[in-house]
Amino acid sequence: MIVIHSARIRRMLGTALPFAIMPALVLLLPVGVQAEYYALVSFLMVVLALLLFLSGFERRELGTRRMILVSVMTALSVIGRLLPLVKPITALTVLSALYLGKEAGFLVGAMSAVLSNFIMGQGPWTPFQMLAWGLIGLFAGICAEPLKRHRALLYGYGILSGAAYSMLLDVWTTVWTYKEFTAEGYKAAMATGLPYAVLYAVSNLLFLMIFTKPIGEKLARIKKKYGL
């Protein structure tokens, strides 16, 4: 396990690595790496980003109660698939991030991806889904205050994260199909993924509209009652 003693550097790295790695993955690689290893390298980097972030979790003081609540929210987001195709995972990830913090948001998103894939089927796309949902949670946790205050902003975030999720997975589709990242390939993948992007955005909005008030109240109440 990687041990960094300075808490400040650790915190900085924990947040910066997933952010730094995704842009680096898309932009910097074609210069240094041969095209045929692009898919391999990008896959490895995503796995590495996840491992780094998750292994940092061991040393973090999240508290037993918060930890259990993360597992509860994960299970709820997987079980809350009331309709086929549309999943409330994004909505519940965002809400957990708002009330339980950015690390909890990342974990709920990433673990929901793994768990729901036990039902939908695991594959090489699992790490990408984990990262995508994890980042949605992380960002929501970072911008928790404004998102909690303005409802319209939260809905905008839901729509945006649906589109961003689809776009991030299109990167994977491109890399996997063409073995390298090309602008045309990405455009083609985005065009095929457009119906899904719209579906994600709409379902995120819908679930956020339904869930924000009741679940937000419940989480706020739990936090107040037990002093988390």
Binding site: S55, T64, V72, T74, L76, F118, G123, P214
Partner: protein
């Protein structure tokens, strides 16, 4: 008799992931054919003749891929015919077929991986990364079935109250949301109780001790070492360029030298490790039975 899925999860995961990963990053049709053949044979050994839907999906999508690739891919020189003034070339068809083969093989390997690596085994592997995370993960898995049971209980209570009409769409949706909302309240409180109970029993106070469910036996070590060695050899030969294929503008058959045969043979052995194991155990079983 020890079946393949009873082996140490770490060894099995390494073998399956390496086999699948090499398949993903290789475009040599012979190697891909071997990969698909081994995966399908093992899948049939595990599941019999069932799962027709999966076979249809895993073989149909790649076929579609192979047929559609020439439509948007205009590279290649040997034109077969024209559709709407777009040249359909032999090379594009071949490339599509190889890509499809690769896709099918990977789908089968990951299906096998999903079937063998159940959540308890993934939990065992995750402990190496972070015990805390493994705990959260395993509790989430347990919560799934717990919440499902609780949901049925809440549903029954709600029905008993006589709040909803039978077979009524709006009432169904409203009822579903209400049940989910009640479930969330219950789940959060239940989680806090679990956490308090854990704290009361001294969770997080001292160094954590644990027991291992999966032991390392000689067979496991042998499997792990042979998987690592074989895949190392294949990856080294691929990196040295022995399996490189040129598809455009003209498909060139590979230079079948010593390195090519070495890589393909090593990969075949790697992909056949599960089959070899199952075959050996089956032989042993029949031999022992006939002695009784």
């Amino acid at each position: 008799m020890r079946t393949y899925d009873a082996m140490n999860p770490a060894a099995v995961a390494v073998q399956l992931l390496l086999t699948a990963c090499i398949t993903v990053f290789c475009m040599e049709p012979v190697l891909l054919g071997i990969s698909l053949l081994c995966a399908m044979t093992f899948f049939f050994m595990q599941n019999g003749t069932g799962h027709k839907g999966f076979h249809l999906f895993a073989l149909g999508i790649p076929l579609l891929f192979a047929l559609l690739n020439p439509l948007w891919n205009q590279h290649g020189t040997s034109v077969l015919f024209f559709i709407n003034n777009r040249a359909i070339t032999k090379e594009a068809l071949f490339f599509g077929a190889v890509t499809g083969l690769r896709l099918a093989a990977v789908l089968y390997w990951f299906r096998i991986f999903s079937d063998l690596m159940t959540s308890d085994k993934l939990f065992y592997l995750l402990r190496f990364l972070s015990p805390k995370l493994a705990l959260v993960f395993s509790m989430a898995v347990r919560n799934l079935s717990l919440f499902r049971q609780q949901m049925h209980r809440i549903q029954a209570a709600q029905k008993g109250l006589g709040l909803y009409r039978e077979k009524h769409f709006i009432d169904d949706v409203r009822g579903g949301l209400r049940v989910f909302s009640i479930l969330i309240t219950w789940a959060l409180e239940n989680g806090i109780i679990t956490a308090s109970s854990m704290t009361a029993r001294g969770y997080g106070t001292g160094k954590r001790t644990s027991c291992t469910n999966f032991r390392w036996k000689r067979q496991d070590v042998l499997l792990l070492v042979s998987a690592l060695l074989l895949s190392g050899l294949v990856i080294a030969l691929i990196a040295a360029g022995y399996l490189e294929r040129v598809f455009y503008p003209v498909a060139v058959p590979p230079d079948r030298n010593f390195g090519w045969y070495g890589a393909v043979a090593a990969y075949a052995l790697l992909a056949m490790l599960p089959l070899i194991h199952e075959g050996k155990e089956m032989l042993l079983w029949y031999r022992l039975r006939s002695n009784i």
